[in-house]
C-alpha cells in the first residue's frame, strides 16, 4: 500500500482521500496520571480507522479528545485542514463530528423517532416564536427533517420501533438507535466507541454490515474503538494500537498483526 497526501487505494478498490483529521503530539493528563502520551496519527477522508489496545490504554480518552469532551494539555487537533482551538462539545458537533458511546447514552424518556430527530437539532433553524406558533415555518422544517430521519430509519431497519420509548428496547436495538441518532447529524466523521460490545454474533454481523454500508453509501469517515479483533481486522483500513497511553503501532491490519510490540502488549512478554 502506498500512501501520500492525496490518499491511497484501500481493499476492494475504495479510494481513500486526503487527511480529514490529524492529531499532533497529543498529551492528556488527569492530575498526575498521564492518560495519553505524545500520540500523533491521522484519519483520512473516507476510511475506517480503528483504535485498539488493552483495557486502560487510553482509547476512550482519545475519542473524547476528538469529540471535544477533553481538552489535551499538549498537542494540536487539526480538522479539515484547520487547527481546532479549545471547543465545547456542542461546537465540535456543529463541525460535523458525531459519536456513539461505550455505554449507551440515549434519551430514555423519548421515543426512538424523537431520539433520532435530536441528531438533527444542529440543523434546525426556526426560532422559539415560530416553533410556538408551529403552523408554517416550524412544521415545514419538522417535516423536512422527518423525511431525512425516515431514510435513516429505513437504512438501519428499525421501522417497527419508531414510536417505542427507548427505555423499553433491548440492548442490541438501543445500539442501533444510537447509531441512527449519530447518522442523523450527517456527520463528516463518525466516532464509534465499542459499537459491538455485549452483542451476540448475529448482532455483531448486523452492526458490521451497517458500519460498512454507512461508509460506502454516505461516504462517512469512521473512527472506531473495538475489542473484537476479528471485527477490527475485517472492517478497518488502518489501525492505531495504543498501550498505556502510548502509540505502539499504526498501519494496515496485516502490518499491525505482525508488529512485535503489539503482540507483546496483547499476549504479554516474559520479563527476565
Amino acid at each position: 500500500m502506498t500512501q501520500d497526501a492525496s490518499g491511497y487505494t484501500a481493499a476492494g478498490g475504495r479510494k481513500i482521500g486526503g487527511v480529514l483529521m490529524e492529531m499532533k503530539n497529543i498529551t492528556l493528563r488527569f492530575g498526575g496520571v498521564k492518560a495519553i502520551t505524545d500520540i500523533s496519527f491521522d484519519i483520512r477522508d473516507g476510511e475506517i480507522r480503528a483504535i485498539i489496545g488493552p483495557n486502560g490504554a487510553g482509547k476512550s480518552s482519545m475519542l473524547n479528545v476528538i469529540s471535544g469532551f477533553y481538552v489535551p494539555q499538549e498537542g494540536e487537533v487539526w480538522f479539515k485542514g484547520y487547527k481546532r482551538g479549545p471547543m465545547k462539545p456542542y461546537q465540535v458537533a456543529r463541525l460535523g463530528i458525531a459519536r456513539t458511546f461505550q455505554n449507551i447514552a440515549l434519551f430514555d424518556g423519548m421515543s426512538v423517532l424523537d431520539n433520532i430527530m435530536t441528531g438533527r437539532l444542529t440543523m434546525m433553524k426556526s426560532g422559539l416564536l415560530s416553533q410556538a406558533i408551529w403552523w408554517g415555518g416550524a412544521q415545514k422544517e419538522e417535516t423536512e427533517h422527518r423525511e431525512k430521519v425516515e431514510k435513516i430509519i429505513d437504512f438501519l431497519e428499525i421501522q417497527a420501533i419508531r414510536k417505542t420509548p427507548v427505555g423499553r428496547l433491548p440492548y442490541g436495538l438501543k445500539k442501533r438507535v444510537e447509531l441512527a441518532r449519530a447518522l442523523a447529524a450527517e456527520p463528516k466523521l463518525l466516532l464509534l466507541d465499542e459499537p459491538m460490545a455485549g452483542m451476540n454474533v448475529e448482532e455483531k454481523e448486523d452492526m458490521s454490515r451497517f458500519i460498512l454500508d454507512v461508509n460506502d453509501e454516505f461516504g462517512t469517515t469512521i473512527a472506531l474503538i473495538e475489542h473484537d479483533m476479528g471485527v477490527v481486522m475485517d472492517l478497518s483500513d488502518r489501525v492505531v494500537v495504543m498501550d498505556y497511553g502510548r502509540k505502539i503501532g499504526d498501519g494496515t491490519p496485516d502490518e499491525v498483526r505482525n508488529n512485535q510490540e503489539v503482540i507483546d502488549a496483547y499476549l504479554g512478554v516474559a520479563h527476565d
Partner: protein, 358 residues
Amino acid sequence: MFYREAGDFKTTYVEDSQTFPIKLDRWRYYAVLAIAFGVIPFLINDYWANAVFVPFLIYSIAAIGLNILVGYCGQVSLGTGGFMAVGAYACYKLMTAFPEVSILIHVLLAGGITAGVGLLFGLPSLRIKGFYLAVATLAAQFFLVWLFNKVPWFYNYSASGQISAPERTVLGHFVTGANTTASAKYLFCLVILVGLAWLARNLTRGTAGRKWMAIRDMDIAAEIIGVNPLTTKLSAFAISSFYIGVAGALFFSVYLGAVEVGEAFGIQKSFLILFMVIIGGLGSIFGSFAGAAFLVLLPVFLKNVLVGQFGWATDLAAHIELMIVGALIVIFLIAEPHGIAQLWKLAKEKLRLWPFPH
C-alpha cells in the same frame, strides 16, 4: 374496542405527528373545548367560578409552566410562589402606571417581566444540579417575597402593604374588581389558558422540547450531539417563568383581587404547584391539567362530603381534609409515580382491546 385505531391511516408526516393522532381523541378534545366555551359560561355562578373553575384554570397555567421546567427540562424549582409574586406585582405596577392599556397586555407583559427574573435565577442551573438547584431556587422564593414586603414602591406605598386590583374591562366586560361577573372571569382565564397551552404543546413537540428533554435525560449526550446547555436551560427557565408570571398576574388581578405577598405567594404555593406537576405527570401537558384539577377539586369535594354530608364541624373537616389530601398524595406517588397522565395512558391502551383478549 372503544378506542379504535383500525382504519385510521396516516399518509403524511404532518398527520402522523399531530397532537391527537387518534380520531376519537381528536373529537373528544373538540367536545371539551365546545363545552368549555359554549356551555359552562352560561351555567357558571360565583361559587363555581371562585371555588373550582377560576383556580383550576390559573393553576393549570402555572402547572404547565412548572412542567416545562421540571418535567421537560429536568431542572427542579421551588421558586414558583416567588415567580408568581413577580407576575402579580408586575401586573399591579403596570395596571396602576398605565390605566388606559388593556389588562390583557398587562398580564402578558407581567409574564415577560417574570421571564426575565426567571432567567436571572436560572443562571445557577448551569453549575448546579438536582437538590442543590432546588435549594438555589428556594432562595429565589424567599428573596422575592421578602423584596415585595420590604420595598414600598412595589405596593405603591399603601398603608396595609397589600396590593389590590383596580377595575379593568375587556371588550366592555369587567374582568377585575368588584363588578366582575363569574362568566367574565372564567372566560378571560380560559382564553389565556387555551392559548398558552397550545403554545406549550407546540414548543414541547418540536426542536425546543427535544432539546429540553435531551438535557433532562442525559445532559452529557445532549451536549455531544450539539445542544448548547446554556441557552437550552435558560430558555426553559424563561418560558416556564413566563407561564408562572401570567398565572401569578391572573391569580392576583382576576381571582383574589387583593393580595398580601407572604400569604398568597408563600412557599406553600411553590409546593402546591410542584405537587400538581408530580401528581399530574412530569413531562406531559395533559398531566398539568390533571394535576391542577386533582388538587383544586379534591379539597372542594372533601369539604362538601365531610361538612355537607356528614355534618362535621368546619374546622375539624379542614384538618381531616389536609390529612386525607396528604395521604392521597403519598399513596398516589407509590402506586403510580408517573402521575395521572400515565394512568390515563394505560387506561387508553387497555381500552384499545377491551373486552377482547387480543
